[in-house]
Structures are given as structure tokens and as C-alpha cells.
Symmetry: C2
């Protein structure tokens, strides 16, 4: 019994580390957005590059898909995909305003946190929904936990860009 | 015995996931630098912000410290710390050239990879060197694995900025 408890403990510890790092980046994003004005967010992060508003929408739309890859549910805001995932910035498609995007940022990440906190330990070690059983046999590191680690990098990457608006 | 083997396997799987994500970001950095010219790297990533050359040096200097936090050895290039960690960009301190920094990027990350690949599994779950035993008791997630996860975010954050030079 002692070994089994240790295994569970170590698994939980690892999941906790990843969840904490995820929540830390999400929080940093919120603090950053709280400090960026309506005017600033409409600017390009660098000359000729994406505008802040597009990057914020892109983060939300991309993370909103997480439930379909981790298997806990469908995207909540499918209307964001054509604007912020399928299209590049300045596509001419109408975007939600900054206040609405900030509210969606909170809502999408709150939903993710609620789902991830109750995801059973063993599920984290299963393949994600975008790959086959066969591929997973070849590479068992491509599990759901790995998806979250890659989302941490994705979020940090874009926060580094948004930071330039300050 | 079967439980113990499972424990080790699962621990190795966590570590493998984190190492793979780390190496992926390091590789992305190399590919990115290979595509940024001598002229481009001397530019600010956005008006009034850090220049590419400073960010590259900062990444190298920061990662060069990793051995002291993970306990596998001293920094290899202490001369980088005053320029890229203690000072901000445009401090007037002389910087290594881009070709030299690209070589250091390879060298520092090769050294880290060699050290991390042989770090024993149990060491990943120990406290890092910059915290006390007492603090670690309160929060066992602050282990060496957590340090590497936070370095992945740090690297991704700055790669998002360097990407704007292209």
C-alpha cells in the first residue's frame, strides 16, 4: 500500500506542478491585460505585426479548444475560431471589443481551471483526442499532460508579445 | 516489484515530457536565430524596447545559471551576468557579437541537455538550491522539475519577442 500511495502522490505532485504553472501564466495574462488600455490594445505589438487585440482573441480562441483535445467538452465560443484561429489579423472580420474579450479571457480560463482540477489523475496519462491509439503506443509522452505543457509555452510566447504594448 | 517499476516508469514519463518540451523550445530558438540576420538582431523588438541582441544574451545568461539552481554545477560564462542579467539593455557595457552569442546559445544549451539527461530521477523531486528545507516542506511542488517548467515559459516568452524581428 505504501508504494501505491507514493505513486499517486508523485503523480499528483507532477500534475499540481503543471497546473500551478498554467495558472501562473493565466494570472500574468490577466494582470497584463488589466494594465493595457483600450487604445494600447489596438496597436500592433511591433511595426507590421499582429495587433494586441488579435493576440488576446487568439489566446482565448485557442484555449477554448482545449476541452476538445483533453476530452472534457466542446468549445464554448465557436464564433471566435473563424476570426482568431482560421483568419490572420486585419482580415476585416468583425471582432468583439476589448471589454468583451477581457471578460471572455476570464470566463474561458475559469472554465478550463474548473475542468482541469477535477480531471482524474489517470486521464492525464491518456492520449489526447487529436491522436490515434497507434501513435500513442509509439510515443506515450503525447498524453493530456503534455498538451497542457505545450499550452503553457504558447501562452507565455504571446504574453511576451503583449508585454511590448506597455 | 511491479508497483515500484510502475512508479519509476511514471516518474520517467513526467521528466521525459518536460525535457522534450524544453528541448523543443531550445530548438525553436536556434531555428529562429538562424533566420535572423546581424542587422535584424541589433534592432529593438518594438519601438523603445529591448534589442534582439540583448534578449539573446539574456536568455543565455539566465539559462547558464541553471546548474547552480539545479545543483549540477557553476555557471560557465560568469562574464555574461553583469551585461545581460544585472544591467538592462543599452547600459553601455560591451556585448559579445551575434556570432559569438549564437555559439554560446548552442554551447550553454548543449551543456544543460547533457546534465539534465543524467540527473537521477529522485533529484528532480528534491528542492532546488535557491530555497530552504523549511519552505520546501510547506510547498513540495517547488522542486527541480518546477524550475525547468518555469524556464520553458521564460524561454517561450522571449522567443515570442524575438520572432517579431522577422
Amino acid at each position: 500500500m505504501e508504494l501505491r500511495e507514493k505513486t499517486t502522490h508523485e503523480q499528483d505532485l507532477f500534475i499540481t506542478i503543471i497546473l500551478k504553472n498554467w495558472l501562473l501564466q493565466v494570472k500574468r495574462g490577466k494582470v497584463l491585460l488589466d494594465g493595457i488600455s483600450e487604445d494600447e490594445i489596438m496597436k500592433e505589438v511591433a511595426p507590421g505585426k499582429n495587433r494586441g487585440i488579435y493576440i488576446v482573441g487568439h489566446i482565448i480562441a485557442y484555449h477554448d479548444l482545449m476541452g476538445e483535445i483533453l476530452g472534457y467538452g466542446k468549445r464554448k465560443y465557436p464564433q471566435l475560431q473563424p476570426i482568431f484561429i482560421e483568419a490572420a489579423d486585419k482580415s476585416g472580420l468583425e471582432m468583439p471589443g476589448y471589454a468583451e474579450l477581457k471578460a471572455l479571457y476570464e470566463d474561458v480560463h475559469k472554465h478550463i481551471a474548473e475542468q482541469l482540477e477535477v480531471l482524474p489523475t489517470e486521464q492525464w496519462y491518456q492520449r489526447h483526442e487529436a491522436m490515434t491509439d497507434e501513435d500513442f503506443k509509439k510515443d506515450p509522452t503525447r498524453n493530456k499532460l503534455n498538451v497542457l505543457v505545450s499550452r503553457i509555452s504558447h501562452l507565455a510566447y504571446h504574453l511576451g508579445q503583449l508585454r511590448l504594448l506597455k
